[in-house]
C-alpha cells in the first residue's frame, strides 16, 4: 500500500535501518532492537500452512453448534431439548440448567449469562449448545431445540434507554461520568455546536471464532482457542465450569486477526461445558454469520458538542455529551467511556471542559473493546468542531489546530498532567508541510483512479479534491487502576535463548519484539519464543499496546538478569565489576579492551534462567467529577487526508493519508510501518463504509457482502512522513504503542477532507454517499 517510498519518506527517523530490500541481502541477518526482523510465522501464515484453531483435530472429536436467539429482546417461556437429544448422533445438549458454576460472566462485571435463561437481550445471544458426531447433525439438532418466546419491544435507541424499563437486573445505565474541569460560567467569543454520530464498526477478523476443548483425566479441561487474554479467559471459564482455575488450561492457538478482545467467552465456555459433559474432545467453528452476531463491536456513539473560542481561535471551553450504546452487556464499556470522556477535547489545551458521558444498555448487538474505543468516536466529533470553528473564524483548519495544540506539561481535562512526550505541534507541522500528492493532469485520465473505481461512473468534471487534518490521542495500557503486570522467563542453553511469556502475539509482532530484545541484551542470535498458555504466569490482554510496554519490559528485565549471571563470573575472574563489560555483535569486551571473548564460548555447556516481572506505575480511578491520574501513558498522531469526491454521486476515494506519529522509539521499523498502515486502513474503513446495520436490533446481513471492508482499490496511499522518537522515560526502551492511534485519527481526517471537498457538514461516520454530494442549487 505504501509502495517503495515508505522507507524513503522517513528522513527524520533516528534509526536508519531501512525496510528490508534487496540491498540488504549481503549483510548479516538483522537482529537486535531497531532492526526490521521478519516475523517467524509470517511465511507459514502467507502460505496457508499455519494451523489455526479451526484446523485442529483430536481423536474422536465431536462437533458443537450453538442455538442463537433470532430476536433482539424476548422472554423465554420454555426451552424443549427432547427432540434434539433424541436425534441420532447427538451426544449432549446444554442449556442454562447445565452450567455447574457461575451462571454469569463478564470481563469487568459478571452480567452476561452463559446461556440465556429467562430473557434474551440481543440478536444472536446463545441459548443452548449441542455436541454431535458430525457438524451438520449438531446444526440440525440445534435447530430442533424448541424455544417458546414472548417477543418484547426492543430498546434500540440509546437515548431511550434512560427511561425504558430495565433490560437487565443491573439497570440500563452502565456508567455515567460527569467530568468537570475549570469554570462552568466561562464563555467564548465564538461558539460552534454540532451533533455527531459514529456507526457500529465490526472487528471482522480474517478468521472467525473457533476452538477445541479436550477433557483432562483429572476432571479438568483444556481449551485450544485464539484467545488474546488467556488468563482472564481461563478464570471466566473456570468460574462457569465450577472448577479450580488450575484445572482449566487455555492454550493459545494462532490468532487469525484481533482488533480487541477476540474470542468472546461465548465460544470457549459452551465448548468446555460440552467437553466436560461428554468426556470427548469437542470442536466448534463459527460461521461468518455467527461471528458477526456474537462478538463485540465498536460502540455506536452519539455526541453533542459546543466549542467556545476567542477571536484568535484559541479554545476557551468545550462542552460535550457523549452517549455510548453498549448493547445488552457491560463488557468493557466503562473503560471505553472513561477514554471518551477524558479525551473529549482532544490533544488541545482547553482551560474549561465539561463533559457528560453515559454508557447505556440497549438490545442492539453487543459493544466491547475494539482498537481505540472511546477515543476514536470523540476524535471524529472534536475534529469536526475544529473544522467548524475554523470556518466560522475564517482560519485555515491546520492553523486553528496549531494554535491550540497540547505539549508536555499541559493538563488533561481529568486534571492529570501530561508527563510523557507530547509533540503534537511537531506532528501537525510534519503533515501540514509535506508535499500534497500531484493533481492528475488533464490529459492523463488513465492514470487517475476516479472515485467509483476503474469501471465506475466517475467523471473528472464532477470531482473535487479536499484536504483535511486531524489530531488525536489514545492512552496506553489499562487505565483507572487496572493492575497491568506481566511476567517473562528467559532461558539460555547451549548458545540459544528461549522466551517464555504468556503475552499473545495476535499479529502485532510481540514474538518478534521479544526476540529482538533478547538479542540486544544477551548478544544471542538464536532466540525462540514459546507459544502461550495459562501454565505460564499471566501476562494480561493483548490490547492497548501493553505487550510492547509491559511484557517487553519483563522480557528485558529477565534477559538482563541472565546477562548478569553470565558476566558476573567473568568479571570476578578479571577483577572488575560486571557493569564494565559490554556485549555487542556476539562478543563480550571489557571497557579497556583487555578481555575479549565471544558470547558463544562463554555460554557453552551452561544453562541460565531468570524470571522477571514488569509493573508500570499505578493509576487511579476517575472520581465523581471525572478527575484523577487515570492513564499511564499517551500516544499521539496527526493525519492529513487527501480525498477526491464525485460531488454528484457522493463517491469518495481517499487519495493519500499522510501520517506523523509519536512513537517514542522505533524498535522494528518494518513492523511499525505495517502497524500504522493497518491502523490507517481500518480507519478509512470506519470513515467510508464499515457500519454493521441493525435496524430494530436485528443484524440484517451478517456477512461480508452486507458488511463491506476496504479492498486494495479503496485503500489509499499511506505515507508515513514523520516518526518522532522522543523516548518516554517511563516505558521500557522508551517505546510507545503504535497500533491504536492511527485508527483513532484516520476517520476524523477523512471526514475533514470530505468537508473541505464538498462544503457539507459531514457529521456522521461512516460517510454515506448522500452526505458527500454537493447541495443542489436552490
Amino acid at each position: 500500500m505504501t509502495g517503495p517510498d515508505a522507507a524513503t519518506a522517513t528522513p527524520a527517523v533516528g534509526t536508519p535501518t531501512p525496510v528490508a530490500t534487496g540491498a540488504d541481502e549481503q549483510q548479516a541477518e538483522p537482529h537486535g532492537i531497531g532492526a526490521s526482523l521478519p516475523t517467524t510465522d509470517g511465511l507459514a501464515k502467507a502460505q496457508g500452512t499455519y494451523p489455526y484453531a479451526a484446523d485442529l483435530w483430536a481423536e474422536g472429536l465431536l462437533w458443537a453448534a450453538v442455538l442463537r436467539s433470532p430476536h433482539p429482546h424476548a422472554r423465554i417461556l420454555s426451552v424443549d431439548t427432547t427432540e434434539a437429544v433424541a436425534l441420532p448422533g447427538v451426544r449432549a445438549v446444554v442449556t442454562h440448567e447445565d452450567v455447574p458454576g457461575d451462571a454469569m460472566h463478564g470481563r469487568r462485571v459478571a452480567d452476561r449469562p452463559v446461556f440465556a435463561k429467562d430473557t434474551v437481550r440481543h440478536h444472536g445471544e446463545a441459548i443452548a449448545a449441542v455436541a454431535a458426531d458430525h457438524p451438520d447433525t449438531a446444526r440440525l439438532a440445534a435447530a430442533a431445540i424448541h424455544v417458546e418466546y414472548e417477543v418484547l419491544e426492543p430498546v434500540i435507541d440509546p437515548e431511550r434507554a434512560f427511561s425504558a424499563p430495565p433490560l437487565h437486573p443491573d439497570g440500563n445505565l452502565i456508567r455515567h461520568i460527569p467530568l468537570q474541569f475549570g469554570d462552568p460560567d466561562a464563555v467564548g467569543e465564538v461558539i460552534v455546536e454540532g451533533l455527531y454520530r459514529v456507526g457500529r464498526q465490526d472487528p471482522a477478523p480474517v478468521g472467525a471464532e473457533a476452538g477445541l476443548a479436550v477433557p483432562r483425566p483429572d476432571g479438568g479441561v483444556e481449551l485450544y482457542v485464539a484467545s488474546t487474554d488467556p488468563h482472564t479467559d481461563r478464570d471466566l471459564a473456570a468460574a462457569c465450569f465450577g472448577l479450580e482455575q488450575d484445572r482449566v488450561k487455555v492454550v493459545v492457538t494462532g490468532v487469525p486477526g484481533a482488533m480487541g478482545d477476540r474470542e468472546d467467552s461465548g465460544v470457549q465456555i459452551p465448548l468446555g461445558l460440552l467437553a466436560l459433559k461428554t468426556g470427548c474432545p469437542v470442536k466448534f467453528v463459527a460461521t461468518r454469520e455467527e461471528s458477526f452476531l456474537s462478538h463485540s463491536h465498536r460502540h455506536p456513539t452519539l455526541l453533542r458538542y459546543r466549542h467556545h473560542a476567542d477571536a484568535e481561535g484559541r479554545l476557551v471551553k468545550v462542552e460535550a455529551q457523549v452517549l455510548l450504546d453498549a448493547g445488552a452487556y457491560a463488557d468493557t464499556s466503562a473503560d471505553a467511556l472513561a477514554a471518551a470522556v477524558a479525551f473529549a477535547a482532544g490533544p488541545y489545551v482547553v482551560p474549561h471542559v465539561f463533559v457528560e458521558g453515559w454508557a447505556v444498555r440497549t438490545n442492539n448487538p453487543p459493544s466491547g473493546h475494539v482498537r481505540g474505543e472511546g477515543a476514536m468516536q470523540v476524535c471524529a466529533a472534536y475534529e469536526g468542531q475544529m473544522d467548524k470553528l475554523a470556518a466560522k473564524l475564517g482560519l485555515d483548519p491546520a492553523e486553528i489546530r496549531m494554535r491550540n495544540v497540547m505539549a508536555t506539561g499541559d493538563l488533561l481535562p481529568t486534571g492529570q498532567s501530561v508527563t510523557c512526550p507530547a509533540p503534537v505541534g511537531e506532528l501537525l507541522k510534519a503533515v501540514r508541510d509535506t508535499d500534497l500528492p500531484p493533481l492528475p493532469v488533464d490529459d492523463d485520465e488513465s492514470e487517475w483512479l476516479l472515485p467509483g473505481g476503474l469501471e465506475g461512473a466517475g467523471e473528472p468534471g464532477a470531482v473535487r479534491r479536499g484536504v483535511g487534518y486531524a489530531l488525536g490521542m489514545v492512552h496506553m495500557l489499562g487505565a483507572e487502576g487496572t493492575d497491568e503486570v506481566s511476567t517473562a522467563t528467559v532461558r539460555v542453553h547451549d548458545g540459544a535463548a528461549t522466551v517464555i511469556c504468556a503475552a499473545v502475539d495476535t499479529g502485532q509482532g510481540f514474538a518478534t519484539l521479544a526476540r529482538q530484545i533478547v538479542q540486544e541484551v544477551l548478544g544471542v542470535e538464536d532466540v525462540r519464543v514459546l507459544p502461550s498458555d495459562t501454565d505460564q504466569p499471566p501476562a494480561g490482554a493483548a490490547a492497548r499496546g501493553r505487550h510492547t510496554w509491559v511484557s517487553g519490559g519483563a522480557v528485558e528485565r529477565a534477559a538482563k538478569m541472565v546477562r548478569t549471571q553470565l558476566l558476573q563470573p567473568l568479571a570476578g575472574k578479571f577483577g572488575m565489576s560486571a557493569e564494565l563489560l559490554t556485549i555487542a555483535d556476539g562478543k563480550i569486551t571489557s571497557y579497556d579492551g583487555v578481555l575479549s571473548t565471544t558470547v558463544e564460548e562463554e555460554l557453552a555447556g551452561k544453562e541460565l534462567w531468570a524470571t522477571a516481572q514488569c509493573r508500570p506505575h499505578p493509576t487511579e480511578k476517575l472520581d465523581d467529577t471525572g478527575q484523577g491520574d487515570a492513564f499511564v501513558g499517551l500516544a499521539f498522531c496527526a493525519v492529513r487526508a487527501v480525498v477526491d469526491v464525485d460531488i454528484e454521486l457522493g463517491a469518495i476515494r481517499v487519495v493519500e493519508m499522510a501520517v506523523a506519529q509519536d512513537v517514542g522509539r522505533i524498535l522494528n521499523p518494518a513492523q511499525l510501518h505495517a502497524r500504522i498502515e493497518a491502523g490507517v486502513s481500518q480507519g478509512v474503513g470506519m470513515a467510508l463504509m464499515e457500519d454493521l446495520r441493525a435496524p430494530r436490533g436485528i443484524i440484517k446481513r451478517p456477512n461480508l457482502t452486507g458488511y463491506s471492508l476496504p479492498t486494495a482499490l479503496d485503500a489509499p496511499a499511506i505515507r508515513v512522513v514523520r516518526l518522532i522518537e522522543e523516548r518516554d522515560v517511563l516505558a521500557p526502551f522508551g517505546a510507545k504503542a503504535a497500533s491504536a492511534v492511527p485508527v483513532v485519527v484516520s476517520p476524523a481526517a477523512v471526514a475533514s477532507a470530505v468537508r473541505a471537498a464538498t462544503g457539507r457538514p459531514v457529521s456522521r461516520l461512516p460517510i454515506r454517499p448522500q452526505h458527500a454530494v454537493a447541495r443542489p442549487q436552490g
Binding site: A54, V285, E455, G456, A457, L649, S708, P769, Q770
Partner: protein, 297 residues
C-alpha cells in the same frame, strides 16, 4: 475452513452438451443447474438452499463462446464476466463488456457467467440493464425443444423458465454504435450497484435505448425519455446534444424510474418523496446524463 453443508449435493451431474444437460434435468427434476456458482453456492453454504442435486454446466463447451447469426451475436450462457470484459468482446458489445468488467472482484468475474446473471435475476445484476437496453432475447433448451423469449419477459416473470429448461444462449443485436454502462457503488473497490444505467444508440432505427438497474427488482426502461431524446438528435450529422438536453434527459429518465408518489386517495396532496429516494433519483439522473453524454461524445 468451513465445516458445514459438506454433503449439500451428493447428486451432481456434469453434462458435456446441452442435450445431456436437459436429459440430466429431466432425470432429476428437482436438481438445480449451476454454472459459476458465485451466488448459488453462497446460498447453499449458508443453508438457504439445499438442492436435491446439481447439474454443473461448466463442461458444456458449446455455451462458453459466441457466434454470429443474422446481424446478431449469439452469446453462450456460460460466457464468464472475465471473458466478456476482454477487448475483442468490447469491440462487439461495448456496454455488456463494461458491465462485465464492473461486476465484482476478479475472482467473481472469472467464475460468474452471463447466464447465471440472468437466471439469478438479482436486482443488482450488472448485465441485466444492458440486456434490457439492447432488447436481447434468450434461447432456452428444454425437454420439449428450444424456444426464444425476450430477456425482459424472463426477468419480470411474465414467461419464466419451465421445469427442465436450461438457459442456452442470449441473442444480442449488433448495433455498431456507441453504448455505455455506468454504475454507482459509493466506493472505489468492487461493490454492488446503488444504481446503474445502460445507454445504447441504434442509428439504424434512429433510437436511443436506456435501462436503469438496481433501483427496482427488474431493469426499468424510461421509454418516453428515450423517444424524446432520440427526436432531438441529428442522426445524419454530428449526433451531439447540448448539455442542457443531456441534463433534461437524465432528470426525465430518473423521474420515470423513481416516480413521485401518487396523490392520496382522499384527495390530499401527495406525500413527499423520502430523502433516500430523492438522493437515488439524483444519482440516476447523473448516471443517465453521463451515460448518454459519453455515448454521444
Amino acid at each position: 475452513m468451513s465445516t458445514y453443508a459438506r454433503q449439500a449435493a451428493r447428486n451432481v451431474a456434469l453434462p458435456t452438451s446441452l442435450d445431456e444437460a436437459v436429459a440430466a434435468l429431466a432425470a432429476t427434476p428437482t436438481a438445480v443447474p449451476v454454472a459459476g456458482g458465485t451466488d448459488l453456492m453462497a446460498a447453499v453454504n449458508s443453508g438457504l438452499l439445499r438442492p436435491a442435486g446439481l447439474v454443473g454446466l461448466g463442461r458444456i463447451s458449446e455455451i462458453r463462446g459466441w457466434q454470429y447469426a443474422d446481424g446478431a451475436a449469439l452469446l453462450g450462457a456460460g460466457l464468464t464476466h472475465a471473458r466478456m470484459g476482454r477487448p475483442d468482446f468490447a469491440a462487439l458489445i461495448p456496454a455488456l463488456a463494461a458491465a462485465a468488467r464492473a461486476a465484482g472482484p476478479p475472482q467473481i468475474r472469472n467464475a460468474g457467467t452471463l447466464g447465471g446473471n440472468i437466471a439469478g435475476a438479482a436486482p443488482t445484476g450488472d448485465s441485466l440493464p444492458v440486456l434490457a437496453a439492447l432488447e436481447a432475447s434468450v434461447l432456452v433448451a428444454g425437454p420439449d425443444g428450444n424456444r426464444e423469449l425476450p430477456v425482459s419477459h424472463l426477468l419480470t416473470g411474465m414467461d419464466p423458465l419451465r421445469p427442465g429448461e436450461v438457459l442456452a444462449y442470449v441473442r444480442v443485436p449488433l448495433l455498431h454504435a456507441p453504448q455505455t454502462f455506468l454504475k454507482a457503488t459509493g466506493r472505489t473497490g468492487p461493490g454492488r450497484a446503488i444504481a446503474s444505467v445502460a445507454v445504447v444508440l441504434d442509428p439504424a432505427r434512429r433510437g436511443v435505448r436506456c435501462a436503469v438497474g438496481a433501483v427496482a427488482p427488474v431493469p426499468l426502461r424510461p421509454l418516453e425519455a428515450e423517444r424524446w431524446v432520440a427526436g432531438l438528435i441529428d442522426w445524419d450529422g454530428e449526433r451531439t446534444l447540448a448539455p442542457e438536453a443531456l441534463t433534461a434527459f437524465g432528470e426525465y429518465a430518473a423521474a420515470a424510474c423513481i416516480p413521485d408518489p401518487l396523490p392520496a386517495a382522499d384527495g390530499n396532496a401527495a406525500p413527499e418523496l423520502p430523502p433516500a429516494a430523492v438522493q437515488l433519483r439524483r444519482t440516476v439522473a447523473a448516471l443517465a446524463r453521463r451515460a448518454l453524454g459519453r455515448a454521444l461524445a
